[in-house]
Amino acid sequence: METVLEFENVTKRFPGLVANDQVSFDVRRGEVHALVGENGAGKSTLVNMIAGLYRQDEGEIRLWGEPVSNGGPRGAIAQGVGMVHQHFMLIHRFNVVQNVILGFEESCSRFGCLDLRQAREMVEELCRCYDFRLNLSVPVGTLSVGQQQRVEILKSLYRGANLLILDEPTAVLTLQEVRALFENLRRLTAQGKTVIFISHKLDEVLNIADRVTVLRRGRVIATVNAMATDKKQLAEMMVGRPVLFQLDKPVSRPGETVLEMDQVVQGTDAGHHKLNRLTLTVRRGEIYGIAGVEGNGQRELVETIMGLMPYDSGDIKIQGRSNRGRSVRDIRAGGVAYIPDDRQQRGLSLAMTVWENAVLGLVRSDRYSRWWKLCTDRIRDFAARKVREFDIRLSSVELPIRSLSGGNQQKVILAREMSVDPELIIAAQPVRGLDIGAIEFVHRQLIAARTAGKAVLLVSADLEEVLSVADRVGILYNGAIVKEFIPGELETETIGEYMLGAGKEAAVWTES
């Protein structure tokens, strides 16, 4: 089979670290080639070299037998490389056609005037060719995330991409959207396009990829046929040691109720409530998991508990005390820890240093300050201790936390939140975007906390995570818990139906 891309002993160094070390592998025409590896394994550096954003220090990268031009990103596009980033680069007010031609308007202009009709025809032709279903004339902002991703792929195809690179494409998608994406990818490869697929989710990788290249600490560990391997083997290659997918979980011994939400109603959006008479209890010594499709009230649920959002009626009691009208600080002082779903916006102050972030919100405690004086030495000591304890990889706690990888950032949040010895832990999407090692770490921490008698509320869009970590699960749909069960009690199919409103509105979802 024809080789599309070839890496030969490619090394890329950054001061202080070797991001890619003697990397060799090849990608063949018409295949989906998965790149897997933990955060910091060198996947991004590698694709950034293909996309023309970096240049290798040693070795050679060949595209269709030619060395990669050093014309930067534009040069890479000219050589047929298309990159679909994890965060979409779309203009929400523009419609699909306008977004697709953005930056390449010359191809459909006449005498310096944009010919939108011609552009539309060209985009329609592409959609027909690859069977992409999209409404071309609506603003991109009104499309679902899955559809926006399709627009991104269209953009690359429009620019003549033959090699598509998708960076963590499924991180933001629902189950149904992932299925649709995979269908589209299969159609693309069937017509001779080649796809490089970057992901942590090994199930998906095994489902879609033809071959898998595993990276660890900048080195290629192996390139294997997806048919000839399994999840366990891949994970072991990635992490460098056997990985237990079965979490070691002692039996839950629930005690008294710590969190009690009673008929909570919050917000009105287009006639229906964000939280609609939501009732649940979380007890000491158990992890209560919230399953459900995102946007069904997950954010409102955690933010009303934390006092970040007011609620209209009902009551939320934490350790028997209502949280109504109490400040976030007061609620936290009552023994509540919070791991927000958006760690960069809600969890951290990216421009501040690691040690400053390690005590965000805690500096008023007499451990870290004496009336008017901040005990910076003590805080630095604390941060350094936590860095060792949580195995946070960094070169200095004096750096802005922005410079850390997502997994390490999350570990800082975890270290901070656990340090107050909470009674109730609110964990919203605690492992989103993390790699296997970090996920395992976070889950073990949560389970250890619940075994030690804490109450944990785990909110996650990943059903598998909820089912494996939680002791009791509530399915959140339209702002209410529609079903409560113990993992193992219900079939996955049945859970899926509840998540989509017990079949009532399932049709709406398959549409997108």
Partner: protein, 370 residues
């Protein structure tokens, strides 16, 4: 080269580079008005730095700008833009003026601190309105502070021309009318100059330049602001709110309280801005009380990178520029506006350099991490 050292060095040298770039660009204007840039700059340097009275004048010019620059910077650190320093120092000054003429019989050790207190209270009051509106009603502080500046001007004019107007002025028979001004300040309210103090060290300052103890106070306040920002819980929370109010809120920091405290503090510092002129140079407040220290404070804070040390240096730079401008105007006939143009160019080039450098530094820091 050690990366951390490089980062620090770049941060320090960037403003200097920006100033040099601005000097280069300003030459174009000087050539356009048919002056030799080299002569102009050399004259500026020789006149501005070569004479004791110039040094003293630079210090005197810089004093109010240190206060106003600090006031802008501290609110900026908390993510707010206090454009209202201008109005706050006007109100502060008029409050200090009232205490200065209306309270006879106080010893100087009581009277001077009392005027400072009055000025800070006035500035704080004028800052209270916008921050209250921001926290309670979501009114953006830029809009409300700009508007309040004009209210402050008019209010102060009204007070000077009406309520505080000195009606007991001795006017020689048949010679003009009374000045529109407040009564003269009492001797006990006047801040002494530092001439006597400097003489102790063998430095003789010319008597016609009024560099005074407010300069020392400004330096103390600058040090205090630096300490507050980096060494106190409030300073920490202030920076956390400034960098990311969302995460600060989620972490349990009361963002509204931080906004209010910071803005009031900013207003209090702003209130001191005009005193170095008011209580030393003028002996009463009239309609000629100098304007624009507040607006120039924004530029000073910007060039000083919102860092107390940087602000002191930037204020000195501004002091030097206006002194130098006087020099080249008198000696070479270069209009003062040429120097104003230069100030503008410096501000622009600092913004540009800061933008480019910021991106570069972030990349460096990123590489630092594994």
């Amino acid at each position: 080269m050690d990366r951390k050292l490089k980062i620090r060095l770049l941060r320090l040298t960037a403003p200097v580079g920006a100033v040099l770039f601005a000097v280069l660009l300003s030459s174009v204007f000087l050539i356009a008005i048919d002056k030799n840039p080299l002569t102009v700059y050399l004259t500026m340097l020789a006149f501005g730095l070569g004479r004791m009275d110039s040094i003293a004048a630079i210090l005197f010019n810089a004093t109010p700008l240190i206060f106003s620059g600090l006031a802008v910077a501290i609110s900026f650190k908390a993510g707010m833009f206090n454009i209202g320093v201008e109005g706050q120092y006007f109100i502060g000054a008029v409050c200090a003026a009232w205490v200065g003429f209306a309270m006879p019989g106080l010893p100087a050790v009581v009277h001077i601190p009392l005027t400072l207190l009055a000025a800070m209270t006035g500035g704080m009051l004028w800052a209270l309105v916008p921050v209250y509106l921001k926290v309670k009603r979501g009114v953006h502080e830029v809009i409300s502070t700009i508007m309040l500046n004009y209210v402050a001007y008019s209010l102060v004019h009204y007070l000077i021309a009406d309520l505080f107007m000195d009606h007991n002025q001795k006017i020689p028979e048949g010679l003009g009318s009374a000045l529109i001004r407040t009564p003269k300040f009492l001797e006990s309210a006047m801040m002494p100059t530092i001439h006597a103090f400097m003489a102790l060290w063998g430095v003789e300052l010319p008597g016609y330049i009024y560099v005074n103890w407010f300069l020392m106070l400004a330096l103390v306040v600058a040090a205090g602001v630096g300490y507050l920002l980096n060494r106190t819980p409030l300073g920490y929370e202030l920076r956390a709110v400034g960098h990311n109010p969302l995460s600060a809120e989620a972490a349990g920091i009361r963002t509204e309280t931080v906004y209010i405290k910071t803005f009031l503090l900013s207003g209090a510092i702003a209130g001191l801005t005009g005193l170095s002129h008011l209580l030393v140079f003028y002996e009463y407040m009239d309609l000629d009380f100098p304007k624009n220290f507040g607006f120039n404070g924004i530029a000073v804070a910007l060039i000083g990178g919102n860092h107390p040390m940087g602000i002191v240096l930037a204020a000195l730079l501004f002091g030097f520029l206006s002194r130098g401008a006087e020099g080249v105007q008198t000696i070479l006939g270069v209009p003062m506006d040429a120097v104003v143009i230069m100030q503008g160019i410096i501000i622009l080039s600092v913004v540009v350099v800061a933008g480019i450098l910021g991106r570069y530094l972030r990349r460096l820091e990123k590489k630092e991490a594994p």
